[in-house]
């Protein structure tokens, strides 16, 4: 072979490779860290279960019990219809829907039937009044198989879903385009650009989020995620996605983030169920055969219960998150008006032993308190470690950048509920009340109000830190400033 043929054929190959992209073009979910530590049999079982429940990026599955709004409209098959010629046909159906289907173009929508397994058909016409549906073709098994034991024709009374998964699929494609290079295809926060960022993009798989309006350790509400996407996280590489993404696109991508987060959590929790069957346990074990047999019987007998338990856990956590009344953090007392006295009280609380914010944030609030130099148990570098095992610096409060938002209510929530994944404690209910503020027999309501007042003092102080003349030396209140003659700004 001459040099020329080698060069030209390798160029052709290169071009083919470039056009085909890397690999086979299919993305996949990577298994979580703790799954990787399990014994081979346990690992395979976890991965199989997770894949059954959540699918692959190409073929998403929505587990009905989880509060994921995949965009599908649910209902029941109430009757088989007759064609216009009067002949009975499986192409005409009557359905009743559980919720409104607001559409101008029903044609092309998918309809899924559940009769033991899912089967699918495409809608041609739909009459919203009568609920009559004309299909383009016969109902086909979604997985294309022709097993005998599955009824080929769905029977009356069965569940149907129209447009199953449209929102989630839309969310996935938006996510792949706009988020996955940072947050990763699996939502593990390890996309290709992630390694250049600090702080690292969020790994959703623990279900832990920092800037939420809910109680400590809750999941974020959809509104929280919406706010993050609207405002970004200032001071980090998480940018704002409005107005680039329109409202329905935000809804879709938020749903997909929730899906990924639930998927990650599911895998994590399932892994915990298998804690006795790790590689480590296997290598240490004297009775390896027994362990393998135990694993087998565990999978056969106990896994079902475990699954139910995990499912129930996830369902409650993520459903509650959207119920602001039960999960939300909100004050009972309005913000104490900003004043020098209030800021001074805030400063007192900030340095005081009871809350000891300075232990982390430092005496001059620059985020360099003594705790940032301590070694945590088992850590090989000093400092606080967040839930993902990375060192996290307490915020330098002199910059005036508030990642979770700068509204008083945002800071209130940060202080009351803490930033759990970053180990900033929740201070709700822990405020020291000055002597004489409360009578000995004060009602719980009064106590709550007094608590909130202290939090607001802290908020007023935190908001004033960037404008301190020198650390700890508080400036005159803003109110006093307005009487002074205005100086004209000189730009450039």
């Amino acid at each position: 072979m001459s040099i020329r043929t080698i060069i030209s054929s390798s160029l052709v190959c290169l071009a083919a490779l470039v056009m085909a992209g890397c690999g086979n073009g299919e993305s996949s979910f990577v298994p979580g860290k703790s799954t990787g530590k399990l014994m081979t049999g346990a690992q395979a079982q976890v991965r199989k279960t997770v894949d059954t429940v959540f699918g692959t990026p190409q073929n998403l599955v929505v587990w009905d019990v989880l509060p994921i709004n995949d965009g599908g409209i649910r209902g029941t098959l109430t009757d088989y219809g007759k064609s216009s010629a009067g002949a009975a046909t499986t192409k005409w159906l009557t359905i009743t829907l559980d919720s409104d289907w607001a559409t101008d173009s029903p044609e092309g929508a998918t309809i899924d039937f559940y009769s033991g397994v899912w089967s699918q058909a495409t809608i041609k016409e739909w009459n919203p009044e009568t609920g009559q549906v004309l299909l383009t073709d016969k109902v086909a098994r979604a997985d294309g198989s022709k097993k005998k034991d599955v009824p080929q024709k769905p029977s009356v009374g069965e569940k149907i879903v129209i447009n199953s998964g449209v929102v989630l699929r839309h969310g996935r494609s938006l996510y792949q385009r706009h988020c996955s290079h940072c947050h990763g295809t699996s939502g593990d926060g390890a996309g290709p650009t992630a390694e250049y960022l600090h702080p690292l993009p969020r790994d959703y798989r623990l279900g832990k989020f920092k800037f939420i309006s809910n109680k400590t350790n809750s999941r974020p509400s959809r509104d929280d995620l919406h706010r993050i996407l609207k405002n970004g996280v200032p001071g980090t590489y998480m940018p704002s996605f409005v107005p680039m993404l329109k409202d329905e696109e935000l809804t879709a991508v938020i749903e997909y983030v929730r899906f990924l987060s639930m998927r990650g959590e599911f895998e994590e929790k399932l892994g915990i169920a298998f804690t006795e069957y790790t590689m480590e346990a296997y290598s240490k074990s004297d009775e390896k055969k027994q362990l393998v047999a135990d694993l087998k019987s565990f999978i056969q007998e106990d896994l079902k219960d475990e699954l139910e338990y995990v499912q129930e856990d996830l369902k409650t956590a993520w459903t509650d998150a959207d119920d602001f009344e039960t999960s939300g953090v909100f004050p009972v007392a309005p913000r104490v008006p900003d004043s020098l006295a209030s800021r001074q009280r805030g400063r007192e609380l900030f340095v005081g032993k009871a809350l000891n914010c300075v232990n982390c944030h430092g005496i001059d609030a620059r985020g360099n308190g003594p705790q940032t130099e301590d070694f945590e148990e088992g850590a090989d570098e000093p400092g606080l470690h967040n839930a993902w095992g990375h060192v996290v610096k307490p915020r330098n409060l002199t910059t005036g950048i508030y990642r979770g938002g700068r509204r008083p209510i945002d800071l209130y929530r940060r202080i009351v509920a803490g930033i759990d994944p970053s180990k900033m404690p929740a201070f709700g209910g822990k405020m020291p009340i000055p002597a004489g503020r409360l009578a000995a027999d004060a009602s719980p309501e009064d106590r709550a109000i007094a608590q909130d007042e202290q939090v607001w003092h802290l908020v007023n102080y935190v908001l004033s830190v960037p404008f301190e003349v020198e650390p700890g030396h508080l400036p005159e209140p803003v109110l006093a400033e307005t009487d002074e003659p205005q100086t004209t700004p000189e730009e450039n």
Binding site: P239, P243, P334, P489
Partner: protein, 270 residues
Amino acid sequence: MKKFWALFFFLWPTVALIVCYIAPSRDWWFYTEAMSPLGVRIDNLFYMILWIVTAVFIGTQYALGYVMWKGATKSESQPAHFSHGSHSLELIWTIVPAFVLVFIALYQMDVWRDFRVKSSFPEETQQDGAQMEITARQFEWRIRYPGPGKQLELTPQPDDLYAVNEVHIPTGRPVKFNLRTDDVQHAFFAPELRIKQDAVPGKVIPVWVMVEESGTYNLLCAELCGWGHYKMRANIYAEPEEKVQEYMEQLLQDQNDDGVSEDSDDADDE
């Protein structure tokens, strides 16, 4: 065959001209109407240059076509004639374009001055100072407005108001803002308003704009600034003074939101 090639090569500039001529009216491609008075003046400059360029294009293409046609129709028996330069011809095609360029440079000077030179900004902007600070950042636009009744200071103030990717400006009067960047170089590009201004690290660059008609205009980044360059998109809302005031009040209210007070919109926000 020679004639064919001569015509063939002459055809393409002709097609190009026709396509360019009909493109705007067929909506194939042309920019939209300028929405600011300065933009209209910039467009006029553009049109002037377009006319000059068109004239030059037609002239040169016609000359080329003429030469090709002459060559194609000449008899083969005639020997070719080689010449080595013509002093006067070279002088002409140096001096004429030089004059044209100098003319353009001088002619556009006052538009340039009005757009870029601070002392020639409209009087209102001189008096009022900058209305807001727009900071480009990978990959978003962050806006800082002065607190109610205040003037914008160069450094953040306690009662400043903040927004992301949403600029509100009043219509019918010139508005000045300060442009800066938090990280790398970006460019403030409002195509409908005909503004394109680089944001340079370490510099505070004043820019002014006047919009006559209410509307939502695009704000894009026109400097390749990293992976997310494509998504540095914001909206400029030009609206009557009262609407802007309403917006500022809303912003003030949102920013003072404590989740309890009467005017707190937390209930429908959360």
